[in-house]
């Protein structure tokens, strides 16, 4: 009955039918951005009739990427134990001469500036690279040292093998701290003076098929300017919270550097920018509606990366429309926001993929297996306790700014401390005075406290890992940090002495 009702006005189509159209040059292909405009102007029904395929794209830093290469056997043969290419340490996950270049592995001679991502780019670009390897030597693999120069043509296999790509959406990052921080979300200025985000929003492949109706194992995709496949869900995949990811593979020998670039994030490390696009076959009207999703319907959280914890505070919810506008609103503040991924190249991915299909160079593949929708991204099970500032914090000795230097000197002696916090009537931090400041004041005959107070004080938070507090003290050559709450109220003090005792350093 139902089958009859569907005919003659058929309201589904199959991947095989679409491929037949591609073969004949009759397939109608739109980029995701074009599709949204069409649905808006002509409606779902018309869009379903007119469109066979919607192409998507994204181009961003994808750290969990890399390349598997097989370098062939040397004579005499070697079972590679340690390897470096262009001084980048290489994993040796397989038998003798299979190597994995991780995008984030950094050069030992140019760390933070050259890494696995750059090395993959150089290889794709046809450049010659230097392989060095050592081994322990066996009866069957006697060689222990190796040095040779290679290009991609010398490799038996050179495949991108990325275990987590194409995040459906990602956080918008800000920094609530008083100092600039450098993260995998880029450079974040103090006191939330800028924000960064990543992702193509409405052009993102997974956002256009959020139920993984057409994207699964075996889906043929655009990868790095060549063709590749989805080989499974990516690590940390969690479709239920729109945090879906993909594991992908593609022949890197056929890629090009317009869509594959090594990159350096200052003080974070190196990575790889990859262009990834997926054609969504419009099999039914449901997929028309899904591919019609707009930036204003896609939301992400503004997250404070200044908090050095796994669960960072979410400060606001913003849409990709706001993100692409150049500024976001957090509370009553407007913050300028930059993209870390390139929308221009994401568009280029989608339009290149469209051109390939139009020209009959790219055919769709139906997944052989769907991706899981119910997986949860768990935190790490930790069997050892982590030390936090709260674990070593001591009561703070405080004073008011109106007090005299001599009174503070006495307090330092009676309480036997080196640091006194200057607080206001509400207990909020106004500055800090050390025993050294007092000694100097006495030597120089200064009696007014306000003349010797240090106003710019580095502080710590109660739930901050001790390691980051300790690092801050070392970085600024100071021996203690007042611990304050969000209202600037002094809760206590953490000293480098206490940290050393707990972390076992001197």
């Amino acid at each position: 009955m139902e089958e009859k009702a569907l005919n003659p006005q058929k309201n589904t189509r199959t991947v095989a039918e679409i491929n037949e159209k591609i073969r004949k040059g009759d397939a109608q292909v739109l980029t995701a951005e074009e599709m949204k405009r069409l649905v808006e102007s002509s409606g779902v029904e018309v869009a379903f009739k007119e469109v066979d395929v919607v192409t998507t794209g994204t181009f961003g830093a994808m750290c969990s990427s890399g390349a598997i290469i097989n370098v062939g056997h040397s004579d005499p043969p070697i079972k590679i134990d340690n390897a470096w290419i262009n001084n980048v340490p290489i994993c040796h996950p397989g038998a003798a001469v299979d190597l994995y270049i991780g995008a984030t592995a950094m050069s030992e001679t140019e760390p933070f500036e050259y890494g696995g991502g750059h090395l993959i780019e150089d290889l794709v670009n046809g450049e010659e690279v230097e392989l060095r390897a050592t081994a322990y030597g066996t009866d069957c693999y006697p060689r222990t040292q190796l040095k040779t120069n290679l290009t991609k043509d010398d490799l038996n296999q050179f495949y991108l093998l990325n275990f987590r790509n194409c995040y459906q959406h990602y956080n918008c990052a800000v920094n609530g701290r008083d100092e600039t921080i450098y993260t995998y979300m880029g450079k974040l200025l103090p006191r939330m003076k800028n924000a960064t985000y990543s992702g193509a929003g409405e052009l993102n492949p997974l956002m256009n098929d959020p139920d993984y109706e057409t994207i699964g194992i075996g889906t043929r995709i655009f990868l790095g300017g060549g063709q590749g496949y989805v080989i499974g869900e990516g690590t940390q995949h969690e479709a239920s919270s729109q945090n879906g990811t993909l594991m992908v593979r593609g022949d890197a020998k056929k890629m090009n550097t317009e869509f594959l670039r090594g990159a350096s994030f200052t003080r974070y490390g190196t990575t790889l920018y990859i262009g990834l696009g997926i054609p969504i076959p419009i099999l039914n009207e449901g997929l028309v509606k899904k591919t019609a999703i707009r930036d204003e319907e896609i939301f992400t959280n503004v997250v404070d990366y200044g908090v050095p914890r796994r669960d960072r505070p979410k400060l606001a919810k913003v849409s990709y429309k706001e993100l692409k506008s150049g500024s976001v609103t957090v509370g009553d503040r407007k913050i300028r926001v930059s993209s870390l991924s390139s929308l221009k190249t994401a568009r280029s991915v989608a339009s290149t993929l469209k051109a390939w299909i139009d020209e009959g160079e790219f055919f769709l593949s139906a997944p052989v297996e769907t991706l899981p929708l119910d997986t949860k991204f768990k935190g790490m099970k930790q069997t050892e306790a982590t030390a936090y500032v709260a674990n070593v914090m001591q009561a703070a000795v405080t004073c008011k700014e109106t007090e005299e230097v001599s009174a503070i000197a006495k307090r330092i002696v009676t309480k036997s401390v080196n640091h006194i916090m200057v607080v206001d009537d509400q207990g909020r931090l106004n500055g800090i005075v050390t025993s050294w400041d007092i000694t100097r004041a006495l030597a120089e005959g200064k009696t007014v406290l306000s003349d010797i107070v240090t106003r710019r004080v580095f502080t710590a938070k109660l739930d901050e890992p001790l390691e980051t507090a300790s690092k801050r003290m070392a970085q600024h050559h100071i021996s203690a940090l007042p611990v304050i709450d969000n209202e600037q109220k002094v809760l206590g003090i953490v000293t480098s002495e206490d940290v050393s005792k707990l972390l076992g350093r001197s």
């Binding site: 450079k187 200025l189 990575t271 150049g326 930059s338 993209s339 221009k344």
Partner: protein, 141 residues
């Protein structure tokens, strides 16, 4: 045009030195940015290329420390049009245009006095480079 960075100490900051130099040399000097208070400060200025040497000399005679700031250059081949630099630029010298390309406006850029974008570029396409053909490195003649 060449760019010069003028540093005024506490002792001379109240004097109308820039005006004096303009009048004495009859040279147009454009102030790009200025950060001054009673304790001194800096002025980033632009002067015609051919007048650079005499302008520098005139300022130095009046006790002003003069430096040639480095200029920011963007390598378009290396740029991946990500946009990481855009929100970091305090003078909006870097903008995203309609097609999402990055456009760098050298005229607006304040150069090495800022440099906020340089270490934020994942493609390392932004460099701080010396101004051409000038050797005004030291404040001492």
């Amino acid at each position: 045009m060449a760019r010069i960075l003028l540093k005024f100490s506490e002792h001379i900051v109240s004097k109308p030195i820039v005006s004096e130099v303009i009048l004495e040399l009859e040279v147009p000097i454009t102030i790009v940015t200025a950060q001054l208070n009673s304790k001194g400060g800096e002025v980033l200025a632009e002067v015609p290329e051919e007048t650079l040497d005499k302008v520098v000399e005139a300022f130095r005679k009046k006790g002003v420390e003069v430096r040639l700031p480095k200029l920011i250059e963007v390598d378009k081949e290396k740029c991946i049009n990500c946009g990481s630099c855009v929100a970091l630029c305090p003078v909006e010298a870097i903008t995203l245009i309609e097609d999402c390309s990055i456009v760098f406006n050298k005229e607006k850029c304040v150069g090495s006095t800022c440099s906020a974008c340089v270490d934020a570029c994942p493609a390392r396409a932004i460099k701080s480079v010396k101004q051409n053909n000038h050797e005004v490195h030291s404040n001492r003649p």
